[in-house]
Symmetry: C2
Subunit: 368 residues, 2 copies
Amino acid sequence: MTLARLNRLTASLSKSGLDAVILNPGPTLTYLTGLQFHLMERPVVLFISEGKDPVLVLPELELPKVDLFPYKVQAIAYGENPSEWDKAFREAAQALGLDAKRIGVEPRQLRLLEFRYVKAGAPDAEFPDASDVLTNLRLKKDKAEVEAMRQAVKIAQDSLEATIPQIKIGMTERAISSELVIQMLRHGSASEMPFSPIISAGPNSANPHASPTDRKLQIGDLLVVDWGAGYDGYISDLTRTFAVGKVDDEYLKIHKIVQDANSAGREASKPGAPCANVDKAARNVIEQAGYGKYFTHRTGHGIGMEGHEDPYMRGDNTQIMEAGMAFTVEPGIYLPNRNGVRIEDNVIITENGADVLSDMPREIRVVG
Amino acid sequence: MTLARLNRLTASLSKSGLDAVILNPGPTLTYLTGLQFHLMERPVVLFISEGKDPVLVLPELELPKVDLFPYKVQAIAYGENPSEWDKAFREAAQALGLDAKRIGVEPRQLRLLEFRYVKAGAPDAEFPDASDVLTNLRLKKDKAEVEAMRQAVKIAQDSLEATIPQIKIGMTERAISSELVIQMLRHGSASEMPFSPIISAGPNSANPHASPTDRKLQIGDLLVVDWGAGYDGYISDLTRTFAVGKVDDEYLKIHKIVQDANSAGREASKPGAPCANVDKAARNVIEQAGYGKYFTHRTGHGIGMEGHEDPYMRGDNTQIMEAGMAFTVEPGIYLPNRNGVRIEDNVIITENGADVLSDMPREIRVVG
């Protein structure tokens, strides 16, 4: 499977004007090798070009991993002294004849650390952005990927259901977050979570990217839970919003608006239509209800091995949805310094429509 | 506190030949601001130069974080469409007059993503490696940092003690890892762990960087547990090696050698001596015992906000140990395809010697 993926990549290089691509530890490297490498102070880089075995530069202590590769690679290992590292990268570039060539990079993943070593090894090379090529490679999920994502959603949902009865007034956001993580591990999540749960209540819930604090749940708060599990290299990313005891009518109202927006976004998710439609459908509901300026982010992002990947559900994204694309639908309304609501589901485009992986009730539920 | 750190940094810029430094989300940014930013597909960069308020480029949806800054910053926010982002970075560079200046970077943390936006905003600037300046900033831990690390060690140790009685023959490495993570959360670890525990037994333990697998514990295995907790932004990183039931005499022997090497490394940890001494002291014990070629990595690495940071305990590192430096002492012996041993402690250099934060028994213990 990884060999087929590698072949798909190398076959696409020349028509993208690339002689090679370089990858450091991260989702794309794992997608192409089935292996996990650590992103650390020692650079690890896989050089991929057409018609030659890939070349892997890595620290000696990672050499045992080379035996686990699903296809032949040429390994160039370096020792503990950083002054030796330049040489290893020079050898790699020479082995593939890459100097003065076009070596594609992944700017969201590649650090200056790896980049500067590769550049020193191939000083006359160009380094065009290969994000499109690499993104397209991973864009449409195959059956096994969808099943892993489905499992990651199931683990997340079961874990939150197991956590809800433990949520009480006076409990801190941080304590809820810990309990939810424990439940995800008990339910079979990978121990490396895709992201730390966002548990935010009251005024904190009005910040879409809050981190859990020691603030205690109070009656009248809205409680936003944005969480996800990991399974077999794939993740889920969901959000539900709860009422802590009795909440103001306006909060019930904005919750219902967001629920309708989420529903509209899911319904707009189908093959052949632009990604923008999903954003527009959800945003329209919120704007019509008079809360447009409080929906401060795009409606969704791609999902798979990463929490944020292509395609992005923005109002200006003309990219056409195709079967196998996976993304979130997550409209929200955030009333500054008061309360916020977000409802997020994970969706996969199918031949005829969309498969919504998450089915936990979206209606507001009372906790505490 | 963070303002004092910022002033310490800006005061050191000119003597390092730098007009500014740029930071993206990561430990150094958190050290200087006390705030957590997400490393994601949207670039976030703090520009720091002397005599002016720092400038922060960030997505609009992160704007609420600006109010949490411990000192004045000029925020430049951009919207969801990436075509607007260049402009925000250009404004930032102009606000600080940075074009054609020397802007220091942190290559281990900065991605090409942020780098290329900053470079587009200041096309004639140079981008020297500022790792030394930034490393020195964080090198000596203050009292509060040491206390956070002590707590992270205590949480880790208590959690492993709580896990040990649950380890049984036939249990998978992955299951042990999950249980250990659960215990760390129950004992108060931050839910964002510093790293996923390495649980490796039998032949897997001979790979110093193994990831937990579905392999089941067998009688006769050595079991390496390399784990750490997070507390208040600081981490611990420890290793102990166990015997699963009765193991071969050679494995008991190499365990004892590594234990002696660990002890020698800790004893060599004192102010005024080069870091190399710690490596040499530990390595000498293993070489004298005839296993030198099976100790395939350096003896330790710095520790604090990150799992791997300066100083590095390598045989060629002439850096002098000073009070406040924190690092691991972790010699090992790895017999390929058979079994491995590693014993790792966390040490802080004091005025007179070293404070060993970890005190869990180092003798081999039998599990299963």
